[in-house]
């Protein structure tokens, strides 16, 4: 007999099926907790993966002018292409507003797995230099947790996901439980050794959620290259084919797709969540679903939008906002600083046949660390992603046979691009736009964010330090870029429901539970207190697992 999933009783509703939602669904359902997993988009099938389809088979060879019409914002993401653009939201259906002079690029997916389908996969641990940054330099707040609290959960996540990388023993970037590292090119080894010799900085192979050997039932990477178009061997980590799959296998998890969550509902007259209201993406019908607890894992901006659109027991808008801090302190890593050039003495020619390594090198943070001097112009620090190797010279000058030959012969290029910490400032905030609504009638977000003087000074330093490292390796034709990219372009939105021990100075506790409501959790990047400079997904997943394990204990003690 068919049972309507909406009339079932659930223990927990998880909103969002990406990196953290997938983990929440897996962890809770495997502990016997009944989960309803809500995803705003549709299911995804490997049949739509296109990583092995050459661009010439596409009508517009992957730079489709059609994307311009429906995805003018999403198309700014390198991964939004003619191959897969319908994984990304339709910007016309999903509006948001910004002040005229403060543009913000909000790149997002609505499909099972969310951004894990197209993410950059770089996976780095944070250290106490990050968790206790306030203690180090006096800015902002410390996290209510330290590295030793999170470390066991990094272990759990890494063991399951499979992170390839090399241990370096560098205090600013703790080592993890790595699969074998990917290989470096000749130029990268040369660059790494010169930079170490002359400047004492550490360069390591990118730590990435791509399997370098068979792991947990998934196959090792076959190095075709374009992970963001899917992977038939599931060699990079994406939630639909790992955590969500495991959750569904338990029989304790019900997946409800096309569920665009509007707000959280409280029990009548009580300060306790009863469930959520969502709009069916296809039929536009409004529906309700009930549970003993609600976890938002819709990504920082979307999760905070749901909380801001929810009513408290007293009837005011903004659930969990007694501190007035819900929506405040938006962060996105500052980017824009880059350096590139040509390495001399390498004669390898580029190949169109691969194998292609969807990973690069990583330059570990060296500014304002525990054992380096304090920089005069900025606090915190940055790391770089980069690569060196032979590349086709599509920028060759001239025309005719000479131009054609120059393209094929190629150059041996090197480039590095910085990701810097973004300070949490309360004047970077999100609120609900009083008029604007999305295609489902749900009030839209207003996003107001700029990068500040600290980020500007940091990116200038990163550009010159980048050139300095390229110089150290004897690179020629060095070019730098130091202007800040538009906020949002790092696609690392964080903060706006920050965790802390003091309910007056934070939105959630260290278990991501709203201080104000005992059974609502913000388990994604929204809970970050500071951004660090590391790519955040690994830390988000570790915090989600830790928070779920705590929630499981509370269920066992009948506290929920």
């Amino acid at each position: 007999m068919f049972a309507d999933p909406l009339t079932q009783t659930y223990d927990v509703i998880v909103v969002g099926s990406g990196a953290t939602g997938g983990w929440a669904a897996k962890r809770l359902s495997e502990a016997g907790i009944r989960v309803a997993l809500l995803e705003a988009g549709r299911e995804v099938t490997p049949k739509e993966f296109t990583e092995h389809m050459p661009a010439f088979k596409l009508k517009y060879r992957n730079v489709s002018p059609e994307i311009v019409k429906t995805r003018p914002i999403q198309k700014q993401c390198y991964a939004c292409m003619e191959y897969n653009y319908d994984w990304f939201v339709n910007d016309l259906e999903n509006p948001y507003s910004t002040p005229k002079d403060k543009p913000f690029t909000w790149q997002r997916l609505r499909i099972l797995g969310g951004r894990t389908l197209v993410w950059g996969r770089q996976s780095y641990r944070m250290s106490d230099l990050d968790f206790k940054a306030y203690s180090h330099d006096g800015y902002g707040q410390d996290w209510p947790v330290s590295y030793k609290d999170i470390a066991p959960f990094y272990d759990i996540v890494e063991d399951y996901v499979g992170i390839s990388g090399a241990a370096e023993g560098n205090a600013a970037l703790p080592d993890g439980r790595f699969l074998p590292p990917m290989a470096m090119t000749c130029g990268e080894i040369f660059f790494r050794d010169r930079v170490k010799q002359k400047l004492g900085r550490t360069i390591t192979i990118g730590r990435t959620a791509i399997l370098t050997r068979n792991h947990n039932g998934r196959l090792a990477c076959h190095y075709c290259g374009p992970c963001e178009r899917g992977c038939v061997t599931f060699s990079y980590f994406s939630s639909p084919f790992t955590t969500v799959k495991d959750a569904l296998k338990t029989g304790n998890c019900t997946l409800i797709t096309n569920a665009v969550v509007a707000h959280i509902n409280l029990e009548k007259g009580e300060n306790r969540a009863a469930g959520v209201t969502f709009v069916d993406r296809i039929s536009h019908r409004t529906k309700e679903i009930k549970a003993k607890a609600v976890i938002v894992c819709a990504q920082a901006l979307e999760s905070t939008r749901i909380l801001l659109n929810s009513r408290t027991r007293e009837g005011t808008m903004g659930l969990g906002n007694s501190s007035g801090l819900l929506g405040k302190g938006l962060m996105d890593h500052c980017t824009g600083a880059a350096a590139s050039g040509d390495l001399m003495g390498f004669h390898e020619t580029p190949s169109a046949n691969g194998p292609n390594r969807a990973n690069g090198i990583y330059i570990i943070r060296f500014r304002n660390t525990m054992d380096s001097p304090r920089h005069a112009r900025f606090i915190r620090g940055y790391g770089y992603q980069g690569s060196a190797g032979p590349q086709f010279d599509f920028d060759a000058q001239g025309f005719g046979g000479g131009y054609k030959q120059a393209v094929v012969a190629g150059t041996y290029g090197i480039s590095v691009g910085a990701f810097g910490e973004c300070l949490a400032r309360d004047d970077n905030f999100v609120s609900i736009d009083p008029e604007l609504k999305d295609a489902w009638g749900i009030p839209a977000l207003h996003i107001s964010m700029t990068q500040g003087e600290n980020e500007k000074a940091m990116m200038e330093d990163a550009a010159s330090a980048g050139a300095e490292m390229l110089e150290a390796a004897g690179a020629k034709n060095i070019r730098v870029h130091s202007a800040l990219a538009e906020p949002g372009m790092a696609i690392h939105e964080l903060g706006i429901a920050r965790m802390g021990n003091d309910p007056k100075r934070s939105v959630t506790d260290q278990w991501t539970q709203l201080h104000d409501v005992p059974n609502v959790f913000a388990m994604d990047g929204a809970c970050f207190v500071s951004s660090a400079c590391q790519n955040p997904t690994l830390t988000m997943m570790a915090i989600a697992v830790r928070s779920c394990d705590h929630l499981i204990q509370r269920f066992k003690r009948n506290e929920i």
Binding site: R42, T45, K47, E48, T50, E51, H52, M53, P54, F56, K57, L58, K59, Y60, R61, N62, S64, P65, E66, V68, D86, M182, A183, M184, T185, C186, E188, I189, F190, D193, H222, Y223, C224, G225, T257, I282, L343, M344, G345, F346, P350, S351, A352, N353, G354, P355, N356, R357, F392, F394, Q397, G398, F399, G401, Y403, K404, Q405, V408, A473, G474
Partner: protein, 207 residues
């Protein structure tokens, strides 16, 4: 019309097959889908270019990326792909492309008294050579030479290059063997100290 309808039409127009076009369903490319086959049809006609513009793009394709030991942009049908792409582009982009073609023709008429496609090949090459490089050399002091021709040339070269290097012929010209890249990325295969030389990363020590 929604985007799925646009996509469905794109597929019907291109390959006579349809991907799932129902809201909430996956967008799946049909088995064997290959839009480039449509460009090679014998009865192909331009939809964006007029005949003169089409001929001009063909001649420019052949000059900028000629046939060498590998096929060039003319036989790769760069003009046909650009016609299709530009037809879907914004008005501004369309106008900018037309302006660049018009500049080439206008200057050819001034210098050689005929449209670009009708002047002798040596004149075509001579003219493009003048346009192909930035005029920024400071031989006699300050350089502030206005050179819109270089801009127009670069614009046309970008379009033609994109059309060629993304075509099957273009991919094969850079050595593509027809398979999707795969294998194991082995990286540097030299001895540990092979890159410790004094000046550069010379990789002479194979093995």
């Amino acid at each position: 019309m929604n985007r799925r309808e646009l996509f469905r039409q794109a597929l019907l127009g291109a390959a006579g097959a349809s991907a799932a076009a129902v809201a909430g369903q996956a967008r799946v490319f049909p088995e064997g889908y290959d839009a480039s086959k449509e460009l090679a049809r014998a009865d192909w006609k331009p939809v964006f270019f007029d005949n003169h513009q089409n001929e001009t793009v063909i001649v420019l394709s052949d000059l900028i990326i000629p046939e060498t030991e590998t096929p060039g942009a003319k036989s790769a049908l760069a003009n046909r792909f650009l016609d299709e792409l530009l037809a879907a582009e914004t008005r501004e982009t369309q106008q900018s492309f037309r302006n660049s073609l018009a500049y080439i023709d206008g200057e050819a008429r001034k210098r050689y008294k005929d449209a670009f496609i009708h002047i002798p090949k040596e004149n075509q090459i001579e003219f493009l050579t003048l346009l192909a490089y930035p005029h920024t050399l400071e031989t006699w002091g300050e350089s502030s030479e206005d050179n819109p021709g270089h801009r127009h040339f670069e614009d046309l070269k970008d379009w033609i290059s994109r059309a060629f290097w993304t075509s099957e012929a273009g991919m094969r010209a850079i050595g593509w063997n027809g398979e999707m890249p795969h294998g194991v990325f082995t990286g540097c295969q030299h001895r540990d100290d092979a890159h410790n030389g004094p000046e550069t990363g010379s990789q002479s020590n194979k093995g």
